[in-house]
Structures are given as structure tokens and as C-alpha cells.
């Protein structure tokens, strides 16, 4: 799976204003609403579901990266977006470090395989530290989009 298979380009944010875990999740989910990927009426429910998942264990996986996600019946295909916080946000990460780079995923409950393959793609790409660093330094959504497109080109499609 490639980034282009699930990333909502119009929902990419290069400099979030939020400074809290819930804040950044809400901002990213709202960006998905603005991009027409999720319905405005589902926003609260999706944010709550993602926070509930975070309560089970932070999705801050280290290296300044978090992958907040949930399954939600309102979507019929996997949707995701990327956001960057240059300041970094406390996310109860595994390594205790603040998070600058966020990948948010909302997937249909009956498609666990797609969710796994999206996580696989994200984690595989993030092993490349320069990719990770360039994303965190991105100044505009277009920069981020370009990096994702480049990564799709490098990666071996699975």
C-alpha cells in the first residue's frame, strides 16, 4: 500500500496550532472533514474513538512520530492524513519525547488488513531517518505531499 492510496492530500497540515494530544487529533480530524473525507456530524465520535484508543496505550511510537487511529463505521474506506507540529506535542510516547509528526488513520471496522498495510507503509518509510527528518521540517502541505509522492516512488509496492 502506498501513501497515495489513503492519504487525503487536502487534509495535510504542515504547522498545526494545537499544543495538546486531543488538540492535534481534533485538528487533524477537522482537516479530514474540511477535505470531505469524513462527515462533520461524525467528527466528535471519531475524535472520542481515537482518544479512547490512546487511553489503551499511546500511539506515539518514538522518533517524534505518532500514529493516532481508530476504526469507525462511518468510513467505507481507509482515510488518513499527515500533520506536523514544529514545536512538538506531548503524546505520552514510548520514548517520552514530544511528537512532531502525526499520521492519523480512520479505517472501516471490517478491513483490518488495509489498516495493517497502511501501518506497514508508514513504519517502513519512517525507518528512513532522512525522510522522517524532512517531513518534520516541512513548511507547507505541498512539501509534505511531495515527500509522500517521492516515498511512494521509492518504496516497493506490496
Amino acid at each position: 500500500m502506498k501513501f497515495s492510496d489513503f492519504m487525503a492530500v487536502d487534509a495535510i497540515r504542515s504547522n498545526v496550532s494545537a499544543s495538546s494530544k486531543e488538540g492535534v487529533i481534533r485538528e487533524m480530524a477537522a482537516a479530514l472533514v474540511d477535505a470531505g473525507k469524513i462527515a462533520a456530524g461524525d467528527l466528535e465520535s471519531i475524535v472520542r474513538a481515537i482518544m479512547k484508543r490512546e487511553d489503551l496505550g499511546s500511539t506515539g511510537i518514538g522518533r517524534g512520530v505518532a500514529v493516532p487511529h481508530t476504526k469507525h463505521p462511518s468510513v467505507d474506506r481507509l482515510v488518513g492524513t499527515v500533520a506536523v507540529s514544529h514545536e512538538g506535542i506531548g503524546f505520552d510516547s514510548l520514548d517520552g519525547e514530544p511528537v512532531q509528526l502525526f499520521f492519523l488513520l480512520v479505517s472501516p471496522p471490517d478491513r483490518p488488513g488495509d489498516h495493517l498495510r497502511a501501518l506497514e507503509n508508514i513504519s517502513r518509510q519512517l525507518r528512513d531517518e532522512s525522510f522522517c527528518g524532512e517531513l518534520k521540517a516541512a513548511q507547507t502541505p505541498v512539501d509534505i505531499q511531495r515527500l509522500l509522492v517521492e516515498a511512494d516512488g521509492h518504496g516497493v509496492a506490496s
Binding site: G62, D110, P112, G113, H115, L116, S123
Partner: protein, 142 residues
């Protein structure tokens, strides 16, 4: 759906390069959702408790069990067979601990043998809607 509790087949040998004891065990991903972020986190946390090197081996991949990022690159769906390898001074204890996580399906809701389902979805066993197949059907592609 039948739970597949298999006898854990642990084997041991000496790693030729380091002369350290190496334990190997096959495990099956029993969680309906596969080895996703939460179990991958649990696995990496458990693995980091041990001195031994811990690796997971899939069809064509070998990853560091102590790294959640690496574990996630397996994208191991329900039913996937993996081999866990532990090499080092506490390899035996490590492999038992990791094996237990798989046996207990990482204490996950909606594992294959669990009777309680959350709500909404009722997968009645055999509907064939493409990607999300709940039955543990190990693929035999080489």
C-alpha cells in the same frame, strides 16, 4: 470458531557466530485485527525487557522484535505464522514470555476464540468480502 491452541514447539541450538544459546519458536497471530499497533507495542516492550536479541521471522522478512517500527513492517494479519528467535543469556525466558503474549492473543478483544464481540458487526463465520477474512488461513505462498 475453534481456538487453535497448539503445543508450543520451542527448539534450541547454539548461535554459531556468538556461541550464545538460541531459542526458536513458531507462533500464530490469533488476533482478528492482526499484529497491529497495540500488540506490536506490547511485543516490543516485552522484548526490550530481555538482554537477548529477539527477532521475528516472516516469509521473507526478519525484523528486530524490540522495535515497534520494525514489528509493524511485518503487517502480520490474523492467521500469519511467525518464528520468534531469541539469542542470548536469557533466551529461554524471553522466548517463553513472547510466546505467552501470542498464546493470550495480547489480551485482545475480538480474538478468534473470544465469545464477546464489541457491537455492531456480526461476522457469521464465512462471508467472502475480499480483504478482511476472519478465519486463520495461513497462506502457503513461498
Amino acid at each position: 470458531m475453534a481456538s487453535h491452541l497448539e503445543q508450543p514447539s520451542v527448539s534450541s541450538e547454539r548461535d554459531e557466530a556468538t556461541m550464545q544459546e538460541k531459542f526458536t519458536r513458531e507462533v500464530v497471530v490469533g488476533m482478528q485485527q492482526g499484529l497491529h499497533a497495540r500488540p506490536a507495542d506490547q511485543l516490543a516492550r516485552e522484548a526490550r525487557k530481555w538482554q537477548s536479541r529477539i527477532e521475528l521471522v516472516a516469509k521473507s522478512q526478519r525484523v528486530d522484535g524490540k522495535s515497534i517500527l520494525e514489528v509493524l513492517t511485518l503487517a502480520a494479519e490474523s492467521g500469519t505464522r511467525l518464528v520468534v528467535e531469541a539469542t542470548g543469556p536469557d533466551a529461554r525466558e524471553a522466548i517463553n514470555a513472547i510466546g505467552r503474549l501470542f498464546e493470550q492473543n495480547f489480551n485482545e478483544f475480538g480474538s478468534t476464540e473470544s465469545g464477546l464481540h464489541e457491537s455492531g458487526l456480526h461476522d457469521s463465520g464465512s462471508h467472502s468480502s475480499g480483504a478482511g477474512q476472519p478465519a486463520p488461513a495461513p497462506e502457503s505462498t513461498g
